[in-house]
């Protein structure tokens, strides 16, 4: 094959992925005059961000003026069980308000308070109403705003184009090989910087809120290019996915339902979250029905209902009820908003949930409770990056959003993903700008490597016979669902790892039928490599971490262990091609940040008020 037959497109920077993080990064790059190419697997505006429902967390203080970046930071660290990268959590909390205001500057229309400011709602783990939102379609508002702003910035958008692998010139990045999904033709993007914004890898599980796009492409590509993955064991199971009918099992039910007062009950009608309040959160959580009722009416003295505990806690509690035989008919728990809010309120505040249940489950949520259960939702871990520049250990390679690790530690708070996208997307853009300023010399394309990448893809079509990609994927989903789920132990994880190993062998002989044009079987087969790297990384990191922290629960190692707070699990490809899984010391936190995170909420509120000049 002659590589000169393949079209080469040159840009200063290539952004892979056009969700919130990718779009925000691309906007930043082009604002600074970089020639920017934005490559995405789907049509523009269809990325996962569009599905985000509840809101974007930012300490604007519009609804409760006591809010401040320090409280948002403290909430984020506590939610992440202190495994978050301290500096990233700080940047995130400090910059989120400006990123939200900037969206308004670009045309976003958030719901308003009575005085005409951006309204904010309650969400799990957030001390105050903090989530700027638009009903329950906040992600749509954000992606459309970024999209409509971005298209006038001179960004070149390459839609329905799959990134295959990265190219390097020596140690540093020199571009990427990709494939047009429509024609099956290959293309080489030549660029000194690549920003990965490819989201997570939820499609490795059977029950997930993620779409086909979430195949861990960024993880696989970064890993193959020599970058490191971190915290991969922390996979968030969102407590409330649909459980019925089977075809929509896993589809997200927004935490906004609980933010608006929705309660969880078991088949005996018991509000079981009262029995599941962890000690760390007990002083800040209501312990009677009466107190939660006062909270719902807006009493600022009342503590938050236990349904709004962090996602890891709620997901485990639901699982426990189901295991104990107190689940709903289809194996979940009941989520009831109908008895808490008027039908009119529900339709106004949660329109897409109303519509989703009405159409897909033939259930009216203003009259009946929903059935919900845990669904794989989000990767806290990901590509290991520098906190300020978002650059990996590979010069010129950046990552942002769900694809990167650090902000969320062991568990992410709802609403902190949309803010992460905006804050870290911008940081990655700035990082790329700075990198290009100090790397002006020419780069060369590694044609041999490009040829290898293309051959790996075409072999799948050219094989006489082989394994069905859909079946390998199904097997992988079964393996991850049964062995690398919410509750883990050494035996299960070892079983999972050997299952993944067998699938690696099958993958070597995967075969897709048909031609190269818009061939979903072929696309699935190509995505399998990234899914397998992602799955192997999650399972191996989970087996190494012998404690239970946040979203990672080990029945054989219960509770958080101090020695494990000191390390991250870091994964990279060894020179011999095997996966290296190691503990890496985290270093000591900035003393001021550590102080803020460890203050009691009363002490911190007093400090914030004092600083604001109030008695």
């Amino acid at each position: 094959m002659d590589i000169s037959d393949i079209k080469t497109i040159e840009h200063d920077v290539i952004v892979l992925g056009a969700g919130g993080a990718g779009l925000r990064a691309a906007i930043e790059c082009s604002m600074h005059g970089l020639s920017t190419g934005l490559v995405c697997k789907s049509l523009l505006g269809k990325a996962h961000t569009v599905m985000a429902e509840g809101g974007v967390a930012a300490a604007l203080g519009n609804v409760d003026s006591r809010d401040n970046w320090k409280v948002h930071f403290r909430d984020t660290m506590r939610g992440g069980k202190f495994l978050n990268n301290w500096r990233m959590a700080e940047l995130h909390a400090k910059e989120a308000p400006d990123r939200v205001r900037e969206l308004e500057e670009w045309g976003a229309v958030f719901d308003r308070t009575k005085t005409g400011l951006i309204n904010q709602r309650n969400f799990g783990g957030h001390r105050y109403p903090r989530l700027a939102h638009v009903g329950d379609r906040t992600g749509l508002e954000i992606i459309r705003t970024l999209q409509d702003h971005g298209i006038h910035q001179g960004i070149d958008v390459y839609m329905e184009c799959t990134g295959l692998d990265l190219l390097k010139d020596g140690d540093r990045i020199s571009g990427m090989v990709a494939m047009w999904r429509e024609t099956g033709e290959f293309v080489i993007f030549k660029s000194k910087a690549v920003i990965l914004a490819t989201g997570g890898g939820g499609k490795a599980w059977k029950i997930t809120s993620n779409s086909w796009e979430y195949t861990g492409d960024g993880y696989g590509m970064a890993y193959e290019a020599g970058a490191e993955l971190m915290d991969m064991e922390f996979t968030q199971f969102h407590p409330t996915g649909m459980v019925w009918p089977p075809s929509v099992r896993g589809t997200l039910v927004t935490e906004g339902v609980r933010g608006e007062g929705g309660i969880l009950v078991n088949s005996e009608g018991k509000r079981f979250m009262f029995d599941n309040i962890p000690d760390r959160f007990a002083p800040e959580t209501a312990d009677t029905e009466d107190e939660t009722a006062r909270w719902l009416e807006g009493d600022k003295e009342a503590r938050r209902p236990p349904e709004l505990l962090t996602r890891d806690v709620v997901a485990r509690a639901i699982r426990k009820e189901v295991k104990a035989g107190r689940g709903s008919p289809h194996g979940g728990a009941f989520l009831d908003i109908a008895s808490r809010r008027s039908a009119e309120d529900i339709q106004k505040k949660l329109p897409s949930m109303y519509h989703q249940f009405k159409v897909l489950a033939e259930l009216d949520i203003t009259e009946e409770p929903m059935e919900v259960g845990p669904t794989l939702h989000y990767f806290m871990g990901g590509v290991r990056v520098d906190s300020d520049s978002q650059m990996t250990c590979v010069p010129g390679l950046f990552a942002a959003g769900e694809c990167a690790a650090g902000v969320h530690g062991a568990n992410r708070l709802g609403g902190n993903s949309l803010s992460d996208l905006l804050v870290c997307g911008k940081l990655a853009g700035e990082g790329a700008v700075k990198y290009l300023e100090s790397n002006k010399d020419e780069i060369n394309l590694d044609e041999n490597r490009a040829r290898e990448i293309i051959r790996a893809a075409t072999d799948i079509l050219n094989r006489e016979s082989g394994e069905n990609p859909y079946l390998i994927h199904e097997d992988l989903q079964e393996t991850m669902q049964s062995n690398v789920g919410i509750v883990r132990d050494d035996e299960l994880l070892t079983l999972g790892i050997s299952g993944i190993d067998k699938l690696w062998n099958k993958f070597k002989n995967v075969k897709a039928d048909g031609a190269s044009q818009f061939n979903p079987g072929w696309h699935q087969a190509i995505a399998l490599r990234n899914l397998l790297i992602t799955s192997e990384a999650v399972a191996k990191a989970a087996r190494l971490r012998q404690e239970s922290r946040g979203a990672h629960t080990r029945v054989d190692y219960e509770g958080e262990r101090d020695e494990w707070l000191k390390v991250n699990v870091v994964i990279k490809k060894s020179p011999d091609g095997t996966m290296s899984v190691e503990k890496v010391e985290r270093g000591s936190p900035d003393p001021e940040l550590e102080r803020i995170a460890n203050l009691s909420i009363e002490e911190l509120e007093e400090e914030v008020q004092r600083e604001a000049g109030q008695p």
Binding site: S42, L43, L44, G45, K46, A47, V50, M51, R101, E104, E105, W106, G107, V109, D111, R112, K114, T115, G116, I118, V134, G135, R137, G139, L140, E141, R144, D148, H149, I151, H152, V157, M159, E182, S211, W212, W244, P245, P246, S247, V248, T251, L252, S352, Q356, V359, L360, A361, E362, N468, P469, Y470, A512, D513, G514, Q517, F518, N519, P520, G521
Partner: protein, 249 residues
């Protein structure tokens, strides 16, 4: 469980045919599930676009028994058990392959629209924009649009008369309405609404409103007010007179 018959378009823009498939249907399935099942079991290379599978992204638009719909939100129990279900790509746009249509024309239209520009004087002393909820309700209705292009697909101007050169279509009429009615925006797009985006082409048959999965009142709340603003500007005799007087001065 019941065995059902399907006819699915296979081919590209030039050569193609309706092919027959049979599938066992389980309770609760939507049409997109059927397509996926056929893809996995019978036709590994059947091309279809989809993402969220919950009616939020607008990717899986097709024509089911002639009606433009989101396949992820169309339940199988809407159809009689003995009914053969036909699934085709959107008709108003070129076929790429199987059920996937080339909707790139829509992205070109969006790029033509003058972007949002806020009025800095709408900020309060703390630097926050102030907008009242009642003033943004109508804009938020248009911003519910998920860009499924079902409205574009049924618009007579685009579908039957193929006048994509003359009219941006309902999707972009409500995008324009959303910008024109945005309390902070200070651009004037009315001359373009008339001359360049072709508001006069729409003859208000409301087909677009009928197919909108977000139930946006495209015609009544979006297109008609835009047409009225054009009329007020260009065809109102009183305004015309005032215009003439001022010109004489």
């Amino acid at each position: 469980m019941s065995l059902r018959n399907f006819q699915i378009y296979r081919g590209d823009g030039t050569v193609g045919e309706m092919k027959s498939y049979q599938l066992e249907i389980e309770k609760g399935m939507v049409v997109l599930d059927v397509i996926h099942r056929i893809q996995a079991e019978q036709a590994g290379d059947l091309a279809v676009r989809w993402n969220c599978k919950a009616g939020k992204c607008g990717s899986c638009s097709v024509e089911i028994n002639g009606k433009p719909k989101l396949s992820c939100m169309t339940r199988m129990n809407e159809y009689a058990e003995d009914e053969t279900i036909s699934i085709r790509p959107l008709k108003a746009f070129p076929i790429m392959r199987d059920l996937v249509a080339d909707v790139s024309w829509n992205y070109e239209q969006n790029k033509r629209i003058t972007p949002f520009k806020p009025d800095p004087s709408s900020k309060n002393e703390s630097g926050d924009y102030v907008m009242m909820q009642e003033d943004i309700d109508r804009v938020q209705e248009f911003r519910k649009c998920i860009e499924c292009y079902l409205c574009q697909n049924v618009c007579h101007v685009l579908r039957d008369h193929e006048r994509k050169d003359a009219f941006v279509g309902p999707r972009f009429m409500i995008r324009l309405a959303g910008l024109e009615m945005h309390p902070l925006d200070m651009q004037d797009r009315i001359p373009d609404v008339k001359n360049s985006y072709g508001s006069g082409m729409c003859n208000i048959t409301r087909c677009c409103t009928d197919v909108c999965p977000e139930h946006i009142q495209i015609t009544d709340n979006g297109i008609i007010p835009m047409k009225e603003r054009v009329v007020d500007r260009y065809y109102d005799p009183v305004m015309k007179l005032i215009g003439l007087i001022f010109r004489r001065k």
